[in-house]
Symmetry: none
Subunit: 402 residues, 2 copies
């Protein structure tokens, strides 16, 4: 008996005026998701807690059964793990941008002309920087994106970020956010690291060539999303399930990696139906597979209700093959958080969930939507409840008591 | 975008026999509240937790987003703040009654003949009492009611009260409730304070005159509701909203003051429609306004189901102007606790809530009542969830994660 957890990133929404006060999920034609809702049991989920506005990172931690309040200090460690850096508990990590500063030190481009080539050579130079007592690990990701991990004694995540989040100003000096020796030392280390980056990147052949070709040089790094890597119990040991993750988003891959799931290769350009097929295939190897589909959240950030509706219909077509799966296995479909078309960002509203499989207590819900699910048999639960419910339905739960 | 939180104190009830097993809210004709329920989303709320019987103080703390378990030790500090005494975190406070004792020291009247005049002069005498190392602040409230704040090093709230809650017996000696030096010192200080009160009140001109006129003298103070003043985060900083409170009840005013809300003048004799109008007006100045309407709870304590039903109908008429408000703003209506006509006191049953405003996921609920709301789209939430939900609907919430 296997379990597939399909997380449709940011699919849930609020009623949208241009959709006649329906949500995109209500407006979309979703016969396959509706059939799954009918075959299963529905409910609503506060992935963190009612009204709390989750990030994708904290939401996925909670859905995988980890308390984000104790395990999360910032996005950096998860992003770093997601791009393939080794990150160990206690290490400090950042997301970084390759960026362009002018001769006065002002940021002229936070994305270094959307650099797409040569970042691995630049990363090699950054990795060559030596700071006493500190181990630096740096990796380029897609485009201007990259991640940084610092390890060493006496570091703290309680420091400010250098990314000013706007252009025409100088990058921020990193500052300690408390009076501890560790925070002051970490800020000092980071400011020296950033200075060294400027030095090794300025004259780097990749940048010399970019300037010659009229492109903006990637002559500095902007740091943000600082966090300390948590020590998390292994998902497989926690639930007694071998587990894999399919996600195109580095952040979700990073969260899954931290929880000990095998992160399976997923082409960033893969179609939604391709991802669903990959996930179904992976259930032959793993007891549990998490599939994250990012497209509905992307459409929300663009504020495009029609595109979001169309994406949901594409997810629905891809879900055609899932009903058969639920004859002998368990499937859960939910959104990791609500994403509001009008706010163009995540919101704290609960998300709909459906769970289908051989022994669920089916309810009257015959449509998969935010409002239909609110009447479902699961009532209102929390993100951290989901894995316990699924593991128990699979008859793999431990008894608490005798 | 503004938010109005209307708390109908003790409005929720259990089914009442004389109302044909309906609750007063079900029996009342409430077309305006019903219209708001229809326009919004409903649910039920355990203001503290299921089955836990809240006070008005702990319920309001929870609804404002504070954990009553960690912030509440007794009513005293909130009552004291409510009558206008300055109360600082760590200080010890009591509610007090002016009372009458006879020459044997027995309580003959716990309310000193329902004294209504001269209490400010008496309070002045009490404030003149000097105890080494202790600062005494005392204030008369309405009628026989008053409040006391003690500040000084090494005080504890873990002491018993002097009010015997019956007549014909001596007031209790205040006793330490643990072995700490602080509790023993505080009990000692209070017993000396009460003795001094007897001394300064006995021969006070106000009491001499009362006796001459055949009225009972206010010749002692009875202390109860001891609590230590908590240190609470500012509501405005917590939620990023400027906030005002309109309440005729000192206790609610005190809780609001502790949370940092501006307590606006509200005439104790103001009509319900006058209070609602005042609250709507206050939303032009504040992002968030809390309005407490006490009348339904008062009717419950009298055990008068017909009066309670009539009060609810009066609230409904006053609510006529609220539907327009919800076109561009958010409104929440709930009871802070259930108050049972048969028990004549608060009970731990959940209370109905409705939230109306531009982007709520409306549900099928078309009637505002305890049982109708239980079928609503909010399902069952906690008091401490309410502010998070409202702030998120207002698009003012912080993201937890990335």
């Amino acid at each position: 008996m296997k379990c597939l957890l399909l997380i449709c990133d940011g699919m849930a929404d609020r009623p949208v005026k241009t959709l006649k006060a329906r949500t995109p999920l209500e407006a979309a034609s979703t016969k396959n998701l509706d059939a799954l809702a009918k075959a299963g049991i529905c409910g609503i989920v506060d992935t963190i807690a009612p009204g709390i506005r989750p990030g994708s990172d904290t939401a996925h931690l909670a859905i995988l059964g980890y308390d984000p309040v104790t395990s999360y200090t910032g996005r950096g460690p998860f992003e770093a793990a997601g791009v393939g850096l080794e990150v160990t508990a206690g290490e400090i990590a950042f997301r970084c941008n390759f960026a362009t500063v002018d001769e006065k030190g002002l940021v002229v481009d936070r994305r270094a002309g959307r650099i797409s080539e040569g970042t691995e050579e630049l990363a090699e130079a950054v990795n060559g920087i030596e700071l006493p007592g500190i181990d630096i690990r740096f990796k380029a990701s897609t485009g201007h994106r990259s991640a940084l991990v610092l390890s060493g004694e006496g570091l703290s995540h309680n420091v400010s970020e250098s990314d000013p989040h706007e252009e025409g100003v100088k990058p921020h000096t990193v500052k300690p956010l408390d009076d501890s020796l560790e925070a002051r030392r970490t800020a000092d280390v980071l400011n020296r690291f950033i200075l060294e980056c400027r030095r090794v990147l300025a004259g780097h052949p990749v940048n010399v060539k970019r300037i010659q070709e009229g492109m903006r040089p990637a002559n500095t790094l902007l740091l943000r999303g600082v966090g300390v890597a948590p020590s998390l119990a292994s998902f497989s040991e926690k639930y007694g399930l071998s587990a894999g993750c399919i996600a195109t988003m580095a952040l979700v891959r990073g969260v899954s990696r931290f929880c000990g799931l095998d992160v399976l290769g997923a082409d960033a350009e893969a179609s939604i139906s391709g991802l669903v097929k990959m996930a179904l295939d992976a259930t032959s190897e793993y007891d549990f597979v998490l599939l994250n589909i990012k497209a509905a959240d992307d459409a929300t950030h663009d504020g495009d209700a029609e595109k979001k509706t169309a994406v949901i219909e594409e997810i629905d077509r891809a879900a055609a093959g899932l009903l058969d799966f639920t004859t002998e296995n368990y499937l859960a479909v939910l959104s990791d958080h609500t994403s509001s078309i009008s706010r163009r960002d995540h919101t704290g509203d609960p998300v709909p969930i459906l769970i289908a499989g051989p022994e669920v207590r089916t309810d009257d819900t015959a449509v998969f939507s935010e409002r239909a699910a609110a009447k479902g048999g699961l009532s209102r639960i929390r993100g951290q409840d989901i894995m316990n419910i699924l593991v128990d339905l699979m008859n793999r739960s431990e008894k608490f008591g005798a």
